[in-house]
Amino acid sequence: MAQDDGNPLTAAVPPAGGPYLAVRDIVFAYGRGTPALNGLSMEIGRGRLVTVLGPNGSGKTTLLRVLVGLLAPAAGEVRLAGVRLDQYPRGALARRVAYVPQDTHSALGFTVLETVLMGRSPHTGALGFEASGDWLAAREALRMTGTEPFAERSLDELSGGERQRVVIARALAQAPELILLDEPTAFLDIKHQHAIYGLLRRLVREGNLTVLCVSHDLSLAAAYADDLALLDAGRVVATGRPGDVLRPEVLSPVYDTPIEVRTDEATGRPYLLPRPPA
């Protein structure tokens, strides 16, 4: 719950109102290098599918790691449901926010079901005893991601696409309000890319979840996301509906390459023309 700490922002943003996730002017640097995040601000409404775009090294992964509480920003603040992120106890934050990192290997041969059950970890007690509710949540997560057929198989026997769905299932079993995904479609073929984005779309629509997803594929992001946010050098340089962000005059300077955008007549959504720069 929001505490009155004399901060005018706290008074101005009551927990019920305001954006679900509000990021204000955050700065973060690894070591003494140039800041990976340099005064980044963005807002995300509840029940939206938002995709964060940007060139390599623009701070996308760092942003996710700040939002899930793995990194503490040097300046600025993040508010989740009106409460500052650093005021959440670890367990409480893990019950609200789930994270799907990019590398998803398992060294010690856990099965798919065991992996998904780990998502229940913030909900179980100190010794980790599981109640029937934990198993129901895990089974439901397997069903939603279509990973039930290989529930008993070892995670390292699966293909990249299957493994990605299992890790998303673990995030779902966590029963969060917000899921953060780091390039969930990297290394996947076109069919599995659509499968993952279709799944995220369904989760937002049916599960009332908020999804924030990092991607390099601008056209795919524009086809599925409610909103896009474009990062460059640790700041948000453009945000809004796909049609507002995917414009040549916005993208070309950020990616430092000429970019042509067309519109899909069937959906009205923009896509990039894969034309070699002259």
Binding site: A94, Y99, S106, S121, T124
Partner: protein
């Protein structure tokens, strides 16, 4: 293997089974082991059984301590071949212990043993780390090298020691149970430490599972990874140092026991912590019992550390060919 729900009922049942297996094996090892020495009077019988009990309890607490330390190192370093002896942690404890025993005070020796173990963990961890990740090959290699350095240092100490002390150092370095006088106070201390560390690791088991999957994953699921790692390394060094003070550096217990339990129960640390506690105790009692039978058959006493190393070496190679390969391929 089908995954079954992890419930409090199954947990208590498992602990009772583990304790029962250990108790039966320990009772057999005391009784039958004692029978190998003929006794003429009740007083003599009492002496023999008391001595056997002391040895069996030594083996139990040392086995439990080393097996738990091995399990913790494997989980947190994400390396199936990590083990106190292989990483040089036992060697560090041994060096500290001998140094203290020869030149400082005998009473403080276990403390310096703990310091040696902890210092070794810090060194090996620092050497093997690159950009926040532990490199599996470098980790094992730094263990090899630090073991070589400690070996040389212990040889130097042996050379500097008085001739009558040399035999003791050599016997102790082999990893021996009951080679030296009555040690009940130390047995109780190591036993209490092993039990405390087992309880601590039972609370950490969820975190061990998550760290094995990935540190970011663990952090995102509410685990304080930095604190978990620090407390676990200190605890594992503490029990290793204490058990080395009691029985010398006994190798491979921390490798064999956790892996046999993994083959039986799967990779879930919530089950592995209690299982490894009881199996570690049982395993070293069995090894000591085997050494005792060997002696009873009219041979000279066999140091139990020799026996575990003879089992552990081939087991290490087996793991290298199976688990290690799989780990490197899925990385």
């Amino acid at each position: 293997m089908r995954v079954r729900p992890f419930t409090s009922r199954g947990y208590v049942g498992g602990i009772l089974v583990g304790f029962g297996v250990w108790a039966v094996v320990a009772a057999v090892a005391v009784g039958i082991g004692g029978r190998l020495w003929a006794w003429d009077s009740v007083a003599q019988m009492r002496n023999v059984l008391a001595l056997r009990l002391e040895w069996v309890m030594t083996a139990s607490v040392v086995g439990a301590a080393l097996a738990l330390a091995g399990l913790a190192f494997q989980a947190l370093l994400r390396n199936p071949l990590a083990e106190p002896y292989i990483l040089g942690v036992s060697g560090g404890a041994g060096l500290g212990f001998i140094l203290c025993q020869l030149f400082l005070s005998v009473v403080l020796a276990p403390l310096l043993g703990f310091a040696g173990a902890l210092a070794t963990v810090v060194i090996v961890y620092t050497v093997a780390q690159r950009r926040g990740r532990i490199e599996p090959y470098t980790l094992l290699l730094s263990g090899v090298i630090i073991n070589a350095v400690y070996g040389a240092a212990i040889m130097l100490l042996t050379a500097l020691a008085r001739p009558e002390q040399r035999g003791d150092i050599a016997v102790w370095m082999m990893g021996n149970i009951g080679a030296f006088g009555p040690q009940w106070p130390l047995i109780v201390i190591v036993g209490a430490l092993a039990a405390g560390v087992a309880a601590l690791f039972a609370l950490f088991a969820k975190g061990f599972n998550l760290v094995a999957v990935g540190e970011d994953t663990a952090g995102a699921l509410g685990v304080n990874v930095g604190r978990l790692r620090l407390v676990t390394f200190v605890a594992a060094s503490l029990v290793t140092g204490a058990s080395v003070a009691l029985a010398g550096p006994i190798g491979f217990v921390g490798l064999i026991c956790p892996h046999l339990m993994r083959m039986l129960l799967g990779p879930d640390h919530r089950r592995l912590v209690p299982a490894t506690l009881f199996f570690g105790a049982t395993f070293l009692v069995l090894a000591d019992f085997a050494a005792c039978l060997w002696e009873g058959a009219g041979n000279r006493a066999l140091p139990v550390g020799v026996l575990t190393a003879m089992c552990g070496g081939p087991f290490f190679i087996y793991l290298l060919r199976t688990r290690w390969r799989r780990m490197m391929e899925t990385r």
